[in-house]
Amino acid sequence: MTPAAPIAIINGRVICPASGQDGIATILLQDRMVAGIGHAEPPSHAQVIDARGLVVAPGLIDVGVFRAHPPACHAGGITRVVLMPDQSPPLDDPALVAYAQGSGKPDVWVHPLAAATRGLQGVELAEIGLAQAAGAVGVATGRRAIADARVMHRLLAYARAFGLTVVSHAEDAALTAGAVATSGEYATRLGLAAAPAFAEALAIARDCRLAEATGAALHIRQVTTAEGLAALLAARARGVDVTAGITPAHLLLNDMAVSGFRSFARLSPPLRHERDRLAVIEGVRSGAIDILASGHDPQSQEDKRQPFADARAGMAGAQTLLALGLGLVRDDVIDLPRLIAMLSLNPARRFGLVAGTLQLGAPADIAVFDEHAPWRIDGRMFHGAGNTPFDGLPTAGRVRMTIKGGELAWQC
């Protein structure tokens, strides 16, 4: 393959949280890397892209997706994903991890999380050391928490030795067994099996304590409640190496969204009460929550067009991640560089990826977007399955160009 021609993106607002760069600049991409940033004239043979009025940022790194669908990722400015082990079959074998790691190249790089336990059953440790050698960037408990504290304790101790971050699903397994909603008035009115919101805090407190005891690195994939956030901050104050993520759905929707039995709003963890939603927005503002992720987990029509409790949990999120995240900037919760850090630099740092920056020599993964362009979310226009609880919502912020490895992968 002949090397791609250099690309020079000029006149854009270049934001790189790692270096603190934020201003109009030219960025030169060559040999799949960032080759220059500043105000120099681009070389004459470079392909020049005028990004006037647009933001030029590191390609987004989406942590904890269940599917890596390149067209959906590119349309969302996503150039790398950290893939959950809940595949079919689960990523509990080094060969499966190696296969997953190569599955997205060259369009979207997939950084797999290995299954923490065999078959994600939460009973026996999987070969996570070998999985790391095969390309796993961390290990994950999967869609569910590991119910048995002893297994979780051993997992954290073992993962620590390999320097692997453990990604946990924070819902107490017994309290949430069979539940499809958060306890409260809406779940009661609809007659849905529900679990108390504090099931999250119990899980976070337990996992943080175990991480403290073992010195392991822990990432709570989604923190969605005030109490859960408090448990996280208490652990962090004790010096526990714990980070946390969240999805736009839990920042923008509360449990009212399930009224009318809208199965598109069936998510895991379930949508929470309004006071919890407001608390996690504060968690983003304060920096307690490090990573914003799409939770991309599209489901087929057959799996969603079911009575609420029988429908599968999950939503398509890759194409709406940036636009919904920009809502936090418009609402003055965080500024644009912080948002970009939550979407690229922080994920890269947590999982040891050489990405998420625009510094010289960094991979030429770039998202160019118009932070103000209005559009209406329409699930029918999505690549792949289009089940989103945000269907029909007017929003703003469109990805204009996604560059992966120095090549233009997508533009609109």
């Binding site: 008035e185 009115r189 007659g191 849905l192 099996a193 009318g260 039995f261 009575p307």
Partner: protein
Amino acid sequence: MERAPSHPALADGVHPFPHEHLLGIAQLKPWEIAFLIDESEQWVEMNRSRAAKHDERLRGLTQINAFFENSTRTLLSFEIAGKRLGADVVNLGVSGSSLKKGETLLDTALTLNAMHPDMIVIRHGSSGAVQLISEKVDCPVLNAGDGRHEHPTQALLDALTIRRRKGRIAGLKVAICGDILHSRVARSNFQLLASMGAEVRAVAPPTLLPDGLDGYAVTSFTDMDAGLRDADVVMMLRLQTERMEGAYVPSPREYFRFYGLTEARLARAAGDVLVMHPGPMNRGVEIESAIADDIARSAVSEQVEMGVAVRMACLDVLTRRRRGVKGWA
């Protein structure tokens, strides 16, 4: 006797029941509830007559009773109701359904719809399933119970029973006792009784009380003696056997000791208390046999009787538009 509050829009020829389906009490305004109860009265009289109990108004219409969850009483009640109005009634039982063959619920709904029924009565084990089906078919759908969500005809028949016995619903103290958590009957009744002006209490062990009952304007009690104090109506709920073997309550005998309806406990209620139960009863677990059989106080048989009348009224009212009844087209 209490009559329907006047509908604000009725003067302009709007009929008093604008809904296409009967999915739950939640969608109904108080005057719409009262209208359905009023409409039921005529069928009580007809059902009691020793002469031929038949009315031809649904002649030629097809009623499908699609029961995806086992039921004897409700199915029979809907079948009799349809037949007494002259409809052609067919029953699709759980054993005859294709769901076991892997067909999705919506495909089953489309199959039923393709047979051009004029009304479909559905019971399903999942909350919201009946609403989902109603969105895909072209005829009125009646909810005969969906999961823990709603059982609107049960609440209507309970209201008819109470109104006939007590002459009113507004102002009565109604205690609903037992497995509230899993009960669609309780949820429909909370909404109906509160919207008709009753003072509603939920009485249950804490493990069987769901969160968020304040939203219904319902007061919760875990002490049954306190919950029954001065009650005008005591509505007992069935507690399924598998839930009293340690999962939610320790044992049937402990449950009966603290939450069973006994003479001694009932003495705390109003002197003319009315005892109700949606059936089937667990005698000796949630209710003492002597109380269940005391026709002066127990309305259990009457509830079954009112059930047929209420279901006749619902089938009649929901098909008026398609039958071209004057004023309903």
